[in-house]
Structure formats: structure tokens, C-alpha cells
């Protein structure tokens, strides 16, 4: 699977990663190489095979639908680069 430079840029945009022109060129080869290598999975017949979802059959745990945690705005924002009054501060997003 060849990944061209335009695809690298599109994927980088989706991943919210800024990349330089030089990086885009390098990644074109690296990503193509890795995707070529995983192509070998096409040799495997997976018709009728269910995707693996868990290691051992355990029932999904249920609990009462009640609040068990919260009221920790100060803790939640404690590590933010910028915060104010329990809110995260970001650049203006609405005109």
C-alpha cells in the first residue's frame, strides 16, 4: 500500500499533528513500508471469524446509575497549562 504525500498530510491533519515538508516526505516512505508489511495479513482467511473482543468470557459489569465521583473541578484543572475559575482556557473559538 503506497501512501503518498497528500495522504500523509491528510492523516496528519486528522491526527492534529503539524508536520513539516521534510517530515511529510520521510513519513511517506516509512508509513508505506509499515503498511506494506502488514499486507501479509491478506494471506489469512478470516471468513466467518468473529473479531476478538475479550480474553476470557466475562459478563459486562453493571452498577447502579448513580453519581459516584465528581465535584473536583480544582483537581481536574490543576494540571492545565491555563485555567480560570475551574474552566480550561483556550484560544477564542467563536467569533
Amino acid at each position: 500500500m503506497h501512501v503518498d504525500e497528500a495522504t500523509v498530510r491528510r492523516v496528519a491533519r486528522l491526527a492534529r499533528l503539524r508536520i513539516t515538508d521534510e517530515e511529510a516526505k520521510g513519513l511517506e516512505g516509512e508509513l508505506s513500508g509499515i503498511l506494506d508489511w502488514v499486507e501479509q495479513l491478506n494471506e489469512v482467511d478470516v471468513a466467518g471469524v468473529e473479531p476478538m473482543t475479550r480474553v476470557v468470557p466475562i459478563a459486562m459489569k453493571m452498577r447502579e446509575d448513580v453519581v459516584t465521583d465528581g465535584g473536583k473541578a480544582a483537581d481536574v484543572t490543576a494540571n492545565a497549562p491555563m485555567s480560570e475559575d475551574g474552566f480550561f482556557v483556550v484560544p477564542k473559538v467563536v467569533e
Binding site: 502488514v38 501479509q40 495479513l41 471469524v49 476478538m52 484560544p91
Partner: protein, 497 residues
């Protein structure tokens, strides 16, 4: 006084109980050892000596009153992936600059509740992505082991300690802590253990709570210990594992007293030897080691059976779809807004893009891009879903094997420790480090690496035992037989001390 840092975890525990030395003396010895060695090994990112001594004081008080808990007064190293309240927790990444969690991971809380002492946070590959510890924002870790030339002289070349838990393996191997926590997504406990002559176990998926462990690939990540001996690993795992309401994938099963069940031996144990692990280009010394392991287990009363795990070769490529896909999703949270590094941009999206580009290292960026690509519109079925179906087949191979055998024996790695820079230029060469370990994560099974011999260059090699789900007990028992036969492996010259 003898050098307390050279004791095993079990010996230190017994010494504390017998009042041969105090927790404060023991902790002080490790603090001094870290101070001397860390500039050379770079195993610790942050040492926490004041906290350690405060914890040691509490332990000494409890020991004096005869109220010692199971791990009372035992100093440990903690991988930087575990959230430790108020203490540096950055997954060895620039993107988490300054992050100090307001909560404690369940695994570390379990250890502190059992009386253990924290010496500091251990270096690792950034976000646990790597097999050499070279992707850490804090620089590589140096393996205490060195290659020996034919003349017998030790080389000064710096070898890697494996990864991603390279700080954990180096610190345990160099006697900078009694044991360490680690995590394993594709081999990150077992491969570094093999490269440093230490014991490492990745328990069954669900055995340890993942709560408070920085997520890499959630369906594969598991915590486990790296320790000096099989007994020490058994002690550690018992006190790391628990059922935890905060992690719905942790299982509600009693944690056995693994240590109490050691020494049962392997009489009548059925050991499987999978032919698919004899890969092309495998070093002859690895093959010899494997045969030696077979012979030891046979001599101890086990029976050996050739088995086939036909989908083995697809585990690594499937892993390099599943793990990056889950990582790209998990690492979406590092946005320059909620924690860590922010690089201001022209607008919000530009801030995200700049913060993430500067905050993540090259390997992490590469994996995020792969993951984003395979999950992008139109590709989900062809990649992620397909890989998850291959996982079912890998697991089915093992399920069929368990009809014939109780454990599977393989080498841990295809080669011994390599030099820094030797494989870092080629991602695929580095990914092949996990070729023998990754199937275990894909199938969710427990796997242990136990030191079993030395390479021609005098560096350690490990054997891996793979077990049935939640049968860590048998792995410890069989690993003990190998350890008893092989002896312990201690780096020949303490050049770092």
C-alpha cells in the same frame, strides 16, 4: 554491614522481619546507590528520597510494633507510566511536561497499602512505545551489562536495557531497587527482563487494574513486575493484582499466594514447544538456549510436546494495526488544553497541532499516524477489524494447544541486548524485537521471562513460558525450575556503582 542493595526482595523482607536492619537503613542504601549510579545509567527520571525516607519511618514504626504488612519497608522503583499522586508522571514524554496527578494508580496504591516504599519514577520509552528505551524524552537508559570481547575484557559500548520498561529492568539489574513495576503491551516487561538478566511477568489481561496507568493500547496493556528472582516476581504480582471497580476489564478473581505455591516443581507438567517460533535468521545461541530449557524441564520431570501455533507469524503485523489504532485514540487527549505542554498557535486547531507536534517524539508521532490511517474512513474493516479477527485465530491456536499442554516454552527475544543506535534507524527492525512476546498480548495470556544463559558476548538471554489464562501459578513454578538450573545472572562488574 553487607551491601543491602544486593539482597533479593524476599531476603530484604526476611531481614526486616528479623530486625537485622531497619527500613530506613535499607532505603538509605538504595538512595545512595541511585545517587551514584543514575548519572551513568539514567534509569530513574525522578528520585523521591524524602518521600522514601518518610515511608521508611512509618514502616520502621510498624515493624517495631510487629504490625508489618506483607511488603513492609521494601523500596521499589515505579515506571513513569503509573500515576503517583503529586509526583512526576509523564510517560517519559515531553507532551506531559509538569504533569503531577491528583490521584494514585490502583497498582501502586496496592503496593503502598502492602507497606512498600517508593524510590522514584523509572525511565521508559515514550508512552511505552519502543524496545530499547531510546524513545524516552529523558534520554536512553544504559544496560548494566556489557559485552565481553574474546580476550575476556568488557567493552565500553553502551547496550540498551530493552524497552519499553528499560528503566525498570536496568534499575533492578543494577541493584537500584529491590523490584520495579512495569507494563507490557507487546513485550515491554519480558524483553527488557531478558536483556538484563532479570525476571519479568506479564500477567493475564485483567489480572492487574489498568486504572491510573497512562493508556497506550487498552486491549493489550497489562502491568506486571520486573524482579531479581522468580520468588520476588511472585511476591510482587500478588500485591500488584486486584479486582478494581474502576477498571471494568479487571477480573473478579481471587489473587493466589503465588509464593506459597513455589517449589512444587514440574513433575508431569506438559510443556509445548511450538515449531513456528523457530524463525528464519534466529541466532544459533538462541536455539541452543531453548534446547537447554527443554532439557532442564525434562530432567525435572516435565514431558515435552511438539505443538503448532499456525498463526504466530501474523501476530506482529496484526499488533502493528491494533496497537497504533488504539494509541491514536488514547493519545487524542493530549491537546495542550487539559494537561502538559501547550505551544500557542494562531487558533485552537493550530494550538493542538503545534502542541502535539512538539510534545510527541518521532516514534509516537509515527504510530499515531499509522493508527489514524488504519482507522480512517473506509479502512476500518480492512485493517482494524481484520486484525481483531486474526487475534481470534491466534487465541484459538492457543486454546487448541491447551488440550495437549499446560505451558509453552519459547525464547523471549530473537537476539541479546544490542548497542544504542543499532536498530533505531529502522522501525521494522525494532518491531521484530517483540516477535516472540507479542502473540501473548494478542491472546491476552500470561507470559514470564526468566534468565537462562549468556550470549557469546557474555550478555543475558531469557526463556519465555506462556500459560493458560489466569494460570500464573504454573508459570512461576516452571520458571523456578529454570532459575534453579540456570542460576542467577548478575552483571560481572559493577562499573556504575
Amino acid at each position: 554491614m553487607t551491601d543491602l542493595t544486593r539482597l533479593t526482595l524476599a531476603e530484604a523482607r526476611d531481614g526486616l522481619r528479623a530486625k537485622t536492619f531497619t527500613a530506613t537503613e535499607l532505603t538509605g542504601a538504595f538512595i545512595a546507590a541511585i545517587e551514584t549510579a543514575n548519572p551513568k545509567l539514567n534509569a530513574f527520571i525522578v528520585a523521591t528520597p524524602e518521600q522514601a525516607l518518610a515511608m521508611a519511618q512509618i514502616s520502621d514504626n510498624r515493624l517495631a510494633k510487629g504490625e508489618g504488612r506483607p511488603l513492609e519497608g521494601l523500596p521499589l522503583g515505579i515506571k513513569d507510566l503509573f500515576a503517583t499522586k503529586g509526583v512526576h508522571t509523564q510517560a517519559a514524554s515531553h507532551v506531559l511536561d509538569g504533569f503531577k496527578p491528583r490521584y494514585e494508580s490502583t497498582v501502586t496504591q496496592n503496593l503502598w497499602d502492602a507497606g512498600a516504599i517508593m524510590l522514584g519514577k523509572l525511565n521508559m520509552d515514550e508512552f511505552a512505545m519502543g524496545s530499547s528505551n531510546e524513545t524516552s524524552y529523558y534520554g536512553g537508559v544504559v544496560n548494566p551489562w556489557r559485552r565481553r570481547a574474546k580476550s575476556g575484557a568488557l567493552s565500553n559500548d553502551k547496550l540498551v536495557p530493552g524497552g519499553s520498561s528499560g528503566g525498570s529492568s536496568a534499575a533492578v539489574s543494577a541493584d537500584l531497587c529491590l523490584a520495579a513495576t512495569a507494563t507490557d503491551t507487546g513485550g515491554s516487561i519480558r524483553q527488557p527482563a531478558a536483556l538484563t538478566g532479570t525476571v519479568g511477568i506479564k500477567p493475564t489481561y485483567g489480572r492487574c487494574s489498568r486504572w491510573g496507568i497512562v493508556a497506550f493500547a487498552s486491549s493489550l496493556d497489562q502491568a506486571g513486575p520486573i524482579a531479581k528472582t522468580v520468588r520476588d516476581a511472585a511476591i510482587m504480582l500478588r500485591h500488584m493484582a486486584s479486582h478494581d471497580a474502576k477498571d471494568t476489564t479487571s477480573v473478579d478473581m481471587a489473587v493466589p499466594d503465588y509464593e506459597a505455591m513455589l517449589g512444587k516443581g514440574v513433575k508431569g507438567l506438559r510443556v509445548g514447544v511450538p515449531k513456528e517460533y523457530r524463525v528464519d535468521g534466529m541466532a544459533a545461541e538462541i536455539d541452543t538456549l531453548w534446547q537447554q530449557g527443554i532439557d532442564w524441564l525434562k530432567a525435572a520431570g516435565a514431558t515435552i510436546h511438539d505443538i503448532s501455533l499456525p498463526h504466530t507469524k501474523y501476530a506482529l503485523p496484526a499488533y502493528y494495526i491494533v496497537a497504533p489504532a488504539e494509541a491514536s485514540s488514547n493519545l487524542a487527549r493530549y491537546d495542550g488544553v487539559r494537561y502538559g505542554l501547550r505551544v500557542p498557535g494562531e487558533d485552537l486547531v493550530d494550538t493542538y497541532e503545534r502542541s502535539r507536534a512538539e510534545g510527541f517524539g518521532k516514534e509516537v508521532r509515527r504510530r499515531i499516524l499509522i493508527g489514524t490511517y488504519v482507522l480512517s474512513a473506509g479502512y476500518y474493516d480492512a485493517y482494524y477489524l481484520k486484525a481483531q479477527k486474526v487475534r481470534t485465530l491466534i487465541k484459538r491456536d492457543f486454546d487448541e494447544a491447551w488440550d495437549k499442554v499446560d505451558v509453552v516454552l519459547t525464547p523471549t527475544t530473537p537476539s541479546p541486548a544490542f548497542a544504542a543506535g543499532e536498530k533505531s534507524g529502522d522501525p521494522l527492525a525494532m518491531y521484530l524485537e517483540d516477535i516472540f512476546t507479542v502473540t501473548v498480548n494478542m491472546a491476552g495470556l500470561p507470559g514470564i521471562s526468566v534468565p537462562a544463559g549468556l550470549s557469546a558476548q557474555g550478555t543475558p538471554l531469557g526463556l519465555q513460558l506462556i500459560g493458560k489464562p489466569f494460570d500464573e501459578t504454573t508459570l512461576f513454578q516452571a520458571a523456578q525450575v529454570i532459575e534453579d538450573a540456570a542460576g542467577r545472572f548478575i552483571a560481572p562488574e559493577r562499573w556504575w556503582a
